[in-house]
Symmetry: D2
């Protein structure tokens, strides 16, 4: 399986995950979406549930979400469609539908939702909330500038932020449970030695 | 197949849809959820998109959503679990989890989401928004009174309202397109006779 | 709102549903997917549950599924991506991923699933079954001929067939329940006059 | 937060994850579902894609899936409903619907699907396939013995098996990519020293 030269390999082997991940991250950057901007949404969403939350944890959580195959693939497809629409290279009537980002067109949400399910029901409700409220960079993306099209990208950013927020919520619980266990063990220990 | 008496029939035939529908509607009423209260949420959600929206259309839309098998089944299961939890008849640890309506328990949202998908991506995002914002009767249900448990019901109401809102959005578009068609035909007609 | 000429209109008004529907149906035809071929899958899937099933009912059910906005939009996006990949017009690494239809790429299934949820859980399980078993035209599409790419189309056909099958299952039940009701009324009537 | 005695704690603190996990695993055992029986399904599903697959890897994958909160919660709810139905403790018409496991009742699939989405689109299609084909222990559960009800459990087992299979598929790819990388590095190294 691994005998061929680079060219033969590229024909037979699936694209390496590092290539896919780098392409997805580069595309976000190219379209003006920084980890920080997404992490800011995550921070604003999760602060009410965790007063000690730090911006670095949010950045880290967004970063971890971007390591997932499902979200990388969704980014590749969604941004490709946005860019093709900007260059007027989609066939009609798809070109017009994507250009206008019309309300009843749902393939953008569907693609984004596909990677939201992986983070549980909190991620799904957070996605829905962000998609309606359009906070921070999601609002900037939605407020189209002349010529730029972000029909798929704004939903993808909702998805990344929702996943990162849900991930933090689950980890916060894990942390609290570990603390509780240690506390119980400490008290058991005190009782025994008390 | 239809030869037996009532008792034999009840063993062989699936429960008739009228029985299921009546049971689901009765349960909502029993738990204090009126069509009007749900329709009010739908009205508040859709008014920004349709200035001419009338409360009667929202009531009618909620009513139509309740005709669907999927939502009826979800109501039967969800309210059953709420009522069993109120009577402390669930096994532990499920009893405690449902009683507390804890944040990482997602089966309530999952059951409600199951019937949301049927109304397209607008319904999914509206569901997520309502589940976070808890408007109107959803807030009342969530603010638990002593002894009452609505862990599943509040998500079901989000689902019914989201479905009814999405249904109205799709029908508004259908109506606008019919109007546009008539306008085009009128102009074509005027041109021809002009 | 309806004052402008055709060009102004095309900028402001959403694309008319008739245009979208015609485009979706034309694309299926262009890619070699006939209503009959899809209906044959539906027939084979549903015959075990309904001995009286007729091919015409299956064709009609497929036709009704194609009237839905969600499936039309999914068809427009999916076939566009297949055609762009055939013309080598997608960016790398997306071009390679779509060309190879690689196993862990799931955006094709995600887009197709988006319109499956609308037909309930039977549609979801039927979709999963068809996607694994690749019956009839789905197999033909999956067995790639030199140069042709159907990465998205084969999942779309699974989705259309699954939806049409689920639709028939629900309607069969409705029919049985009406028959049962008539039977009950007939017997009630006989008892009264008996 | 951790000051109270056991009783106070149980009122305030969410149920500890270890308690939930143990309860879910105990319930599966109680209902006759062993890790081995589920792993056998996973093995049969994945062998065609991986000739070197070992039964131990499948058992381990099932075990890892059971560590997830979403699946544990689904198991608690689903088996509770099956057991209540066996004891005739559900209200009508839900009691009859669950007893008969009727074809158009989809809440069982919905609850199971909720935890399938977390493992990507392969998991969804595998779930659909298993739900139709009913292999191994799924068949045993579906073939009801007098008095026993597994309406929810058979879908839960499909979900666990589908998740474990999808997990293995993703890990197989990761492994192949690591091998490929090592191979590339080895050749690079040979070239340099060659």
């Amino acid at each position: 399986m691994l005998l061929g030269g680079v060219e033969t390999m590229s024909k037979r082997e699936p694209v390496h995950c590092h290539v896919v991940e780098k392409a997805a991250r580069d595309l976000l950057k190219e379209r003006g979406v920084t980890l920080n901007a997404v992490a800011q949404i995550v921070f604003d969403m999760q602060l009410p549930y965790n007063k000690d939350l730090k911006m670095e944890e949010c950045i880290d959580s967004v970063d971890k979400v971007l390591e997932k195959r499902e979200i990388q693939h969704a980014i590749l497809v969604g941004i490709e469609l946005d860019k093709l629409a900007e260059k007027k290279q989609l066939s009609e009537p798809l070109q017009s539908i994507v250009e206008m980002d019309e309300g009843l067109f749902g393939v953008d949400e569907t693609i984004a939702l596909g990677s939201v399910f992986g983070y549980g029901s909190i991620a799904v409700t957070t996605f829905g909330y962000l998609d309606k409220q359009k906070i921070g960079i999601i609002k900037d993306l939605d407020t189209k500038q002349e010529g730029s099209i972000n029909t798929f990208l704004d939903d993808l950013v909702c998805s990344i932020a929702a996943n990162a927020a849900s991930r933090l919520a689950h980890r916060l619980r894990d942390k609290q449970e570990r603390l509780r266990e240690e506390e119980i063990q400490r008290r058991d220990h005190e009782e025994r030695i008390g």
